[in-house]
């Protein structure tokens, strides 16, 4: 049972690719090439053709997520702790959260141009809400007795934030970041279909247009790999900051 993490990953991927190989052999259609062909292609063209797209995509996702987490957790934690801030922002958030932000892409592109800013902005305005709401609700759910020992010590609000709010909210915040990371990858794919010739989303769509399915699957695999790396990074944060949970 106690398989090492890396061994477990390799084993599960191996299983996944075997299933893919079987499916590909059964279908006998270029729309599902065998993984071996995709891997050979990746080996050949990753550094020459794909790496630049992947790097730009990683930059957009990471920048979007970092800014989103900063804005979302600061606002959310403050809303959770101070009722007055919550009373002001909650109606704003309840009203704007359900609006499909993807529909705002044309407006964002007019405001921020076709470049990086509009893509990062899209990721922020779509993912920030779940972070705000998670952060706020986590703080509201901290048992009020937790604050008593610090209150009886005459602790300032800054101390309370540092010693209680932040560590107590951290596990839930990391969950919100994981969910946001998944969303961010999807949003990125969508935005990279417009006004750019760089990015893994563009690469995949371009390969599709060229009816180069092997290239397309290579791009999809790389996109999956980017997602995996982000999740592993969040897990690493979890290991460092939430050791007390285990």
């Amino acid at each position: 049972m106690m398989m090492r993490n890396s061994v477990r990953y390799v084993f599960i991927f191996f299983l996944f690719f075997i299933l893919w190989q079987i499916g590909s052999a059964a279908l006998k259609n270029p729309i599902l090439p065998p993984p071996t062909a995709v891997f050979c292609n990746l080996k050949e063209v990753f550094f020459s053709k794909i790496a630049i797209h992947a790097a730009l995509s990683v930059y957009r996702i990471v920048a979007g997520l970092v800014i989103s987490v900063l804005i979302g957790s600061i606002l959310g934690l403050l809303m959770g702790f101070y009722d007055s801030i919550d009373r002001f922002f909650s109606p704003v958030i309840y009203f704007t959260y359900p609006i499909p932000k993807i529909a705002l892409l044309p407006i964002v592109m007019i405001l921020f141009g076709l470049g990086e800013v509009s893509k990062i902005t899209m990721i922020i305005i779509i993912t920030v809400f779940q972070i705000i709401i998670t952060a706020r609700d986590t703080v509201k759910n901290i048992p009020k007795e937790t604050f008593y020992s610090l209150k009886s010590l005459g602790a300032s609000d800054v101390t309370v934030f540092k010693e209680i709010i932040l560590p107590a909210a951290m596990p839930e915040l990391l969950t919100a970041i994981r969910l946001s990371a998944g969303t961010a990858v999807s949003v990125l794919f969508f935005t990279e279909n417009f006004g750019t010739t760089y990015g893994i989303g563009y690469f995949i769509m371009d390969a599709w247009m060229r009816v180069n399915y092997v290239d397309m699957y290579s791009g999809i695999l790389v996109l999956g790999g980017i997602g995996l790396l982000i999740f592993l990074a969040v897990d690493a944060f979890d290991m460092i900051f939430c050791r007390w949970k285990r």
């Binding site: 610090l150 005459g154 007390w244």
Partner: protein, 259 residues
């Protein structure tokens, strides 16, 4: 009251009234509580659940700060920023994301900001004294209930408090551990003699750890009587007739007005 007499008391509570504002209704939790705690005294506050014992303690701890009446600590209105208040709660007292040693130093850290080597040595000394020397790197989630309360007690003593407030600290523990902890508490207390308010719902506990015993009833909470306790710190009672008649009297006082 003369100045000399005033200096005798660490805590003075006069005509304390506390109201809770629940939906639409104003709930009177404490109705005119008067209580004094001498310097170096331990007063055990006993009463049925819901009588306002905890409310009284929270006022003393500065957690509840909306009240009527007067609450003086060392002749100054209670203020957790000025006074050093050691608080031991039944639960939730420790922060689950801090290791035992960090939890034990929390009081000092908030009060002093800078923790020097001497503070750390003293903290280790107290933690060893309460039997936690091997567990300093553990998280509270990895400790038993008794061990957690040891940390809470150690933390309170490490900050060298002006007053010590304990809210049913041992009631969640099994009988054997509870007696152990009562002994441990009195043992550590004797070397410091910090003025203490000890809230409990057990007559036996009150008669073991209280120099004085205050009986509370409610709601609304009021103190019915405060009596001297000749059995303070005595495990092997010699005059068992007197012990049991006092215990009976306490029980009747607690029940009597509840009817």
């Amino acid at each position: 009251m003369s100045k000399a007499k005033r200096a005798l008391y660490m805590i003075r509570v006069r005509n304390l009234e506390v109201f809770y504002n629940s939906s639409r209704r104003k709930f009177r939790a404490l109705a005119g509580v008067n209580m004094d705690v001498e310097k170096g005294g331990i007063i055990a506050v006993i009463g049925p659940s819901g009588c306002g014992k905890t409310t009284l303690l929270y006022v003393l701890a500065g957690i509840i700060n909306e009240f009527e009446g007067e609450v003086l600590m060392d002749n100054a209105p209670v203020d957790p920023r000025k006074h050093r208040i050691g608080l031991v709660l039944q639960d939730y007292g420790l922060l689950p994301w801090k290791r035992v040693f960090e939890n034990a130093l929390l009081g000092l850290k908030v009060k002093k900001k800078v923790i020097n080597k001497k503070d750390k040595e003293y903290a280790e000394y107290v933690l060893t004294r309460v039997g936690l020397s091997g567990l300093l790197k553990r998280y509270p989630g990895e400790l038993s209930g008794g061990q957690r309360q040891r940390v809470a007690i150690a933390r309170a003593f490490i900050m060298k408090p002006d007053i010590l407030l304990m809210d049913e600290p041992f009631s969640a523990l099994d009988a054997i551990t509870r007696e152990e902890m009562q002994d441990l508490f009195l043992d550590v207390w004797k070397s410091d003699s910090v003025s203490t308010v000890f809230v409990t719902h057990s007559t036996e506990e009150a008669m073991y750890v209280g120099k004085k015993i205050a009986v509370m009833t409610g709601p609304p909470g009021r103190i019915v009587t405060i009596m001297d306790n000749p059995f303070f710190g005595i495990r092997e009672v010699k005059d068992s007739d007197l012990y049991f008649s006092m215990k009976l009297k306490l029980k009747e006082l607690i029940k009597g007005i509840q009817k």
